[in-house]
Each structure stands twice: as structure tokens, then as C-alpha cells.
Symmetry: C2
Subunit: 232 residues, 2 copies
Amino acid sequence: MKHTITTVAFDADDTLWANEDLFVATQARYTALLAPYRHDWDAQELHATEQRNLAYFGYGIKGFTLSMIETAIQISDGAVTGHEIAQIIDLAREMVHAPLTLLPHVADIIPTLAQTHRLMLITKGDLFDQEAKIARSGLADYFRHIEVVSEKNSSTYARILRRHDINPSEFVMIGNSLRSDILPVVALGAHAIHVPYHLTWQHEHVDVPADARTWREMADITAVANWLAQNC
Amino acid sequence: MKHTITTVAFDADDTLWANEDLFVATQARYTALLAPYRHDWDAQELHATEQRNLAYFGYGIKGFTLSMIETAIQISDGAVTGHEIAQIIDLAREMVHAPLTLLPHVADIIPTLAQTHRLMLITKGDLFDQEAKIARSGLADYFRHIEVVSEKNSSTYARILRRHDINPSEFVMIGNSLRSDILPVVALGAHAIHVPYHLTWQHEHVDVPADARTWREMADITAVANWLAQNC
């Protein structure tokens, strides 16, 4: 069956370019930095601080950094030094300016898709971080609309569809997070394609029974482009 | 002369609600916290750290907090304790959830203006911080469009006008910052009304010769509403 999809929306982090890898690598350096204090600390302590701080600091590098500093103080019982905390802030600056790596085939497929569909970028997180990555991606001009939002739930997507006068049946969202890119979109009656990434931030994990999976799952963006070419 | 102004755009911080006061009050508590280390430190040291960090962290509470932590490490020669840094992070959480105070007459005038004009809110800063304040203001529903941007320059305003298909001659921007709300708007040939606030963040200071001031200056939002009623 042919679909009349007019708008193809992409998530950004871990859908168009690698992102979680940078957090994982930074956390490894952070763990090494804290080794003098406790060898056996559990990454769950950092994750718990992050979760607690989401309501205060939201997503992104700066909130993550404040959580790293706070966790360092906790697990060292306050003994972490000013010099070590300065190194954590250095890690944050390195993250902000880290090179951006597009995922395979993205650099070819996005410009091609832009010739046949209205493309949107819908990304969650810190405005400053996301704008910097979008600029460095070199892809900004291919997206008719770019939306940086603080949370991706059904009301966020409903607002975006309304603002651009898009019927849910004409809209497909492509992303790596079931929680943020897929479930809230299918809840609106729109299309969604899940393209898993090899790393998923714990916060984005959800369990969905197999028989409730009403969306498509594809291995990579090449499969997405082929499906759009054949079906839309 | 009557103007055909269709769209009245407001800045948010220190135009619709108090904001800089919170940063000033937090900085006073921060200064007290650091008193054991240096009595004579100059607020310019914090300002210099903030300026340096803008390219990494952007505007907002989280970037300000990372700059406070970094400056504390510098001026204490690394002697600041984990406990004291934890207190700085507590200051950040207090800022995020601080009560929002609308400026005088804003609560009456915005709903009234919304009946006769298309209202927009254009605010610079951290997406998470700004969305939280907009929600707490109770004013969100009166604005047809809300734009949170990372920087307010002429290309930002040009993009917003293009996106909403607004001619510069039909647009007036109202705000407290010459640098962010007024100069980039008049550069596009649009209207701007400067409503100064009693505090201005040093970063927003600009000097403009008196004879180059082509915008209106008004004392408060009541004067703005009267001018709009009589002239537009």
C-alpha cells in the first residue's frame, strides 16, 4: 500500500550522528579521575544523580556535568579537590567541541531525501548543545524545519504537527529511542520507524511487549530510504 | 502617523518578569560563601569566566553555575571544598525553582493586547530555564508564537520574521536590552521599543551615540500599550 507521507522527521542524536558514545567515553575518563577515592563505585550513583537533577537541569552536557560534579563530591565524601573538579569542567568543554561523526550513509541520504520530501529535524535536549551539533553536521539546509524541544512526548509532537499544519497520517518520525521518537508518535496515529543504535542511555529504556509493537523497525537509514522510495 | 503593526513581540527576562535580580542575589550569596578564601576578589573574575565560557555553555543558570564553580576554584587556589561546591549547586537548584515575579501591569496588559494584536515571545537563553519560566508566568496562552533562541542577532530575527511570513514594517519588538532586543531589530527596518530595566547584565551593555538612537524608549509596559492603542 502506498502511503501519502509528505513529511519525514528525523531525530538527531544517535539517529543522524553518534552521541551516546561521547557520554560513555567521558564517563570512563570521569571514573578514572575518581579512582583514588573509590574503586568500587557503581555508575548507578551517577545515573541516580542525573535522574534527580533532570527536573532542575534538563538534558544535555551542562546538566550531565553538574551531576558528575555532585556525584564526585558524594562518593569522595567531600574530599574531591578543586583541581579534580576543574578537570571535570574541562571534560565538559571537550564534549561541547568534540568532533561530530555522522552515522553511515547519512551524508548521502539526507540530501537525496530532501529532494522528494519535506524533512524535519526534531531533537530533544539543550538548545545550545543541539544547535552547535546541527551547525557542525553540515545538514541544516536540508531540513525545512528544525525543532529543538525540552521533552519529546505526545503533546510535543501534537504541537509541532499543528504548528506546521501536518496531518498525522502524512508524517513519519525516524529515531533510535522508543521512548522519545516512537511511542509518542504512534500514539498520535502517525507513522514511526525505529532504527536502534548500539548504545541507549538508560533513561530512554522502555519495555514494550512484542504484540504491541505497531511501528516498523529497520537496521539503518539506507533501509529507511528504500522503504520511503518504494512505499511513499 | 498610524502604523500597520500586526505583530507585537516581547522579550521575556526583565521585560515581562524580573530575572537579573535573581542572578545578582545569587552572586551575593556566592560571594559570602567564598569570603573565607578572599575578601577582596573582584566580581570581574566571575564575569571574565562567564564570558570565556559563553562559547562552551551559552546563556542560562547551568552555564552560570559552572562558571561560579570554576571561579571558586581559581580564587581559592583550589582550596574550595567539596561541601562548598555542593552549596553552589544548591544555589543553582534554588534559582531554577525560584518564584517568578511579573513586572507591574504585565498580568493585565498582555491579555488585553492579545485581543488586538498577534503577540510573540522571543527570549534568549537556556531552553529548559526559559520554558520553565514561561510555564510559571501563566502567560503562555496569550502568545501566538514562542521562540526560545540561543542568540538574538539580526539573522535570528530575520529567520523568525521569514518563518511566520511577517513584513518588518508590521513588526515591533519590545525589550530591555539594546544589544539583543533593539539594535538587531532596527537593523532589519522593523520597529523596536526599548523599556530599560533597573539592572542590566554587563554582557548586554552597549554604548550608542544619542543621534543614532532611532527607536522609541518608554518607561514601562503601560506606556507601550498606550502607544500601540493610539498609533497602531
